[in-house]
């Protein structure tokens, strides 16, 4: 039971934080298919920073985890500038721009990992071995029956993500910036006429998205898998897009969807273990999240209300 809770949460939260990033971008009117590439690039920068910082701080420094988070967020948001430039400044088609970012991210991170490994170790491996960050258990809460598992063996990431998610919710719904951001996604001309800067708002929204995706990416690399390698591109970004679509572009509902994804996955996984299936069969089981995503999309897509102006290229002179 505890394992289900622990695994479920550690799968759900990176998805969630990336999905929030997607929500920021899409609600500002920019289609965001680049989550996959952004999380990968964030993870790459984070992992690389961990590898490099270890030389100075040693392998067991408690600061590594925080350095990784900051580096991952910076990496993701820097890389997202490409998407922002293409969509906001160059008025490129946003779907294509997303694919450009994903393609570039995969190619660049794989290439740079080889190059950097070549420099550091003399061996052109495409992996950064960074290990798993340390965990902790919340004293009292973890004693609660059934749900106590949620508070056992937590990664520091999980707390950080929850705090940031809460802040993101506040920023989107309660502040001036959020009001303007959401206006961009519904009718950018309204903001323009009211004296707001549509391009700037969208640009910032995309960079926030990049930072959040980067955080999600480094969480996966540093907590779930323990390495950075091309295997990080296994579809987390697309799953979180699916999550935000069921979540109807709203943060609380998306949270519920991510938890559902996470726990559904860990429940099936544990079941398979219990049944003692041979390892080949895990491949078959691994299609479940994707099949589930498709099925859910079939049921939910029609009833959703995406932001009205999402994907439209904002042109001041058009009325």
């Amino acid at each position: 039971m505890d394992t289900i809770m622990i695994d479920g949460l550690s799968f759900a939260l990176p998805l969630f934080i990336m999905a929030i990033g997607g929500i920021y971008s899409e609600r500002s009117g920019i289609v965001m298919l680049a989550l996959e590439g952004l999380q990968g690039f964030g993870a790459f920068v984070g992992a690389m920073t961990v590898i490099l910082s270890r030389f100075y701080l040693g392998n067991s420094s408690p600061y590594l985890i925080y350095i990784a988070m900051v580096a991952g967020m910076i990496g993701g948001s820097l890389f997202s500038i490409i998407h922002a430039l293409l969509c906001v400044k160059f008025k490129a088609r946003q779907v294509i721009s997303g694919v450009v970012v994903n393609t570039l991210a995969v190619a660049l991170t794989t290439f740079l990992t080889s190059v950097i490994n070549g420099i550091i170790t003399g061996e052109a491996s495409n992996k950064f071995q960074i290990g798993v960050s340390s965990r902790f258990t919340v004293p009292v809460l973890s004693e609660i029956p059934i749900f106590g598992g949620l508070f056992k063996n937590m990664y520091p990431f999980e707390i950080v993500i929850l705090v940031i998610a809460l802040y993101c919710w506040y920023l989107l719904y309660k502040t001036k910036f959020g009001l303007r951001l959401r206006a961009c996604g519904e009718n950018p001309h309204s903001l323009d006429a009211a004296g707001g800067d549509v391009g700037k708002t969208q640009f910032i929204a995309i960079m926030i998205c990049g930072a959040l995706s980067g955080l999600g990416g480094i969480f996966i690399a540093y907590s779930v898998s323990g390495i950075f390698s091309p295997t990080i591109y296994m579809g987390y970004g697309y799953l979180s897009i699916a999550a935000l679509i069921f979540g109807n572009w709203k943060i609380p509902r998306t949270f519920a969807v991510c938890l559902f994804f996470g726990f559904a996955r860990s429940v099936v996984y544990q079941l398979l273990l219990k049944l003692g299936m041979p390892s080949n069969y895990t491949d078959l089981f691994l299609i479940l999240p994707y099949v589930l995503t498709l099925l859910l999309l079939i049921f939910f897509s029609k009833h959703n209300h995406p932001p009205r102006a999402v994907g439209e290229i904002f042109d001041k002179s058009k009325r």
């Binding site: 298919l33 490409i82 293409l86 400044k89 160059f90 008025k91 490129a92 088609r93 779907v95 294509i96 721009s97 997303g98 694919v99 450009v100 393609t103 570039l104 995969v106 190619a107 660049l108 794989t110 290439f111 080889s114 190059v115 070549g118 052109a124 495409n126 296994m234 579809g235 697309y238 897009i241 699916a242 679509i245 080949n280 069969y281 491949d283 078959l284 691994l286 299609i287 994707y290 099949v291 995503t293 498709l294 999309l297 079939i298 897509s301 029609k302």
Partner: protein, 388 residues
């Protein structure tokens, strides 16, 4: 409202480039050419940063693809071997790009090329590659299975888009993963070659290439896929330019609402376009897995499926343009192994170059806009000077 095009005064190179970029007819050539030049400059800069000689690297790409002589060749190898091998991998690249083009013309982005390729390659391998049928039966059957498998998956994606409004990018990515895992499961469970850890090789009779031909001292593999690909180019061009079905697809792609208003059956058109796109994906898959290679590595999607997007965009989403852009991108991809071994840069740089190429191609509209603004500025200046 149609502005009379004013030429930029002066005949300088800059002026000519600006004119070409903003010309209705010329821009479709000028934009890709500028993208390529910018990409090569960026790649050269990257190589310089790594302390490598860009010129050596570039010739390395050409040598590895059979466009230039290598200094030494191994036994049974020659420039012709390399070039035929280049054509062998060019075929699936071009076929996949054709699939992307059909999709894009109808407003659909078939990013699931790689999955459709894998599925088609796998089905053809299992049902024909392992069957022991003779070549005259096996080869057409491989092609047929490729068409059917790819077409079916494409049609499903189109159906999901039309009926349930599921974005084709999301659904086809989901299909990519599903296909990849299912194929991996079957290969690992039933068809695994213990030594190579990939699927067992398919029979020579079923392969879409003729192996073991000797010419002089070199052993050659004649790729049949390239014929398929070139035929495909003209077929797609004819379809899009000259047929009622193509007219409807383009109408749907440019303005779905108007197409519906005009009486086009939008759902049918979308599904058909995605099915055709998938057909070309399937053909790319069989020429790739049952032609160029003859086995499948489990859990690996061909990066060629994604590179074909760059080919389509760089070729200005036109079938003829795709011939040129696929040659260029294949030179980088195919030549990267040889380049890597001689220059000592990881071969993944080929993907980086493709990515940069894609990046610049996506900026095409902006380049045109910049050129127009620059031209207006120059024209204004000329006018003012004329007045004084």
């Amino acid at each position: 409202m149609n502005a009379k095009k004013e030429r930029v005064p002066g005949n300088g190179l800059g002026g000519r480039i600006i004119n070409a970029l903003d010309d209705d007819r010329l821009s479709q050539f000028a934009i890709p050419v500028v993208s390529i030049i910018l990409t090569i400059l960026a790649a050269a800069a990257l190589l310089l940063v790594l302390g490598k000689n860009p010129a050596t690297a570039m010739t390395g790409f050409l040598r590895g693809s059979g466009f230039m002589m290598k200094p030494i060749y191994g036994g049974g190898q020659s420039m012709l071997t390399d070039f035929l091998s280049f054509l062998g991998i060019l075929a699936p690249m071009l076929l996949a790009a054709l699939g992307i083009i059909i999709g894009m013309k109808s407003g659909m982005f078939n990013i699931g090329m790689a999955g459709q390729m894998l599925a088609a390659g796998f089905i053809a391998t299992v049902f024909v590659g392992y069957s022991g049928l003779n070549a005259y039966l096996a080869k057409p059957l491989v092609i047929l299975l490729g068409i059917l498998t790819g077409g079916l998956i494409g049609a499903i994606i189109g159906f999901l888009k039309y009926r349930f409004n599921i974005h084709e990018v999301v659904s086809s990515i989901m299909f990519n993963y599903i296909i990849s895992y299912i194929v991996a499961f079957f290969i690992n469970t039933y068809y695994k070659d213990i030594i190579t850890r990939s699927s067992r090789v398919c029979s020579a009779a079923s392969r879409l290439s003729i192996t073991g031909v000797t010419w002089g001292t070199s052993k050659l593999t004649l790729p049949l896929g390239i014929i398929l690909a070139l035929a495909g180019v003209f077929l797609v061009k004819f379809l899009l330019d000259r047929t009622v079905v193509g007219f409807e697809m383009k109408a749907v792609g440019l303005n779905r609402d108007c197409a519906k208003y005009a009486g086009v059956n939008v759902g049918k058109s979308i599904i058909l376009a995605m099915a055709l796109s998938g057909v070309f994906g399937g053909l790319a898959g069989v020429t790739y897995y049952v032609g160029y290679f003859n086995s499948i590595v489990p859990k690996e999607l061909a990066s060629l499926g994604y590179d074909s997007i760059a080919v389509a965009l760089l070729g200005n989403i036109s079938p003829i343009g795709a011939i040129f852009s696929s040659i260029l991108i294949t030179i980088f991809q195919k030549g990267s192994i040889y380049m890597s071994s001689t220059v000592g840069v990881p071969k993944e740089i080929a993907s980086v170059i493709t990515g940069i190429l894609l990046l610049f191609s996506a900026c095409g509209t902006y380049m045109r806009y910049l050129a127009r603004r620059q031209r207006e500025r120059l024209a204004d200046k000329a006018k003012k000077e004329g007045v004084q």
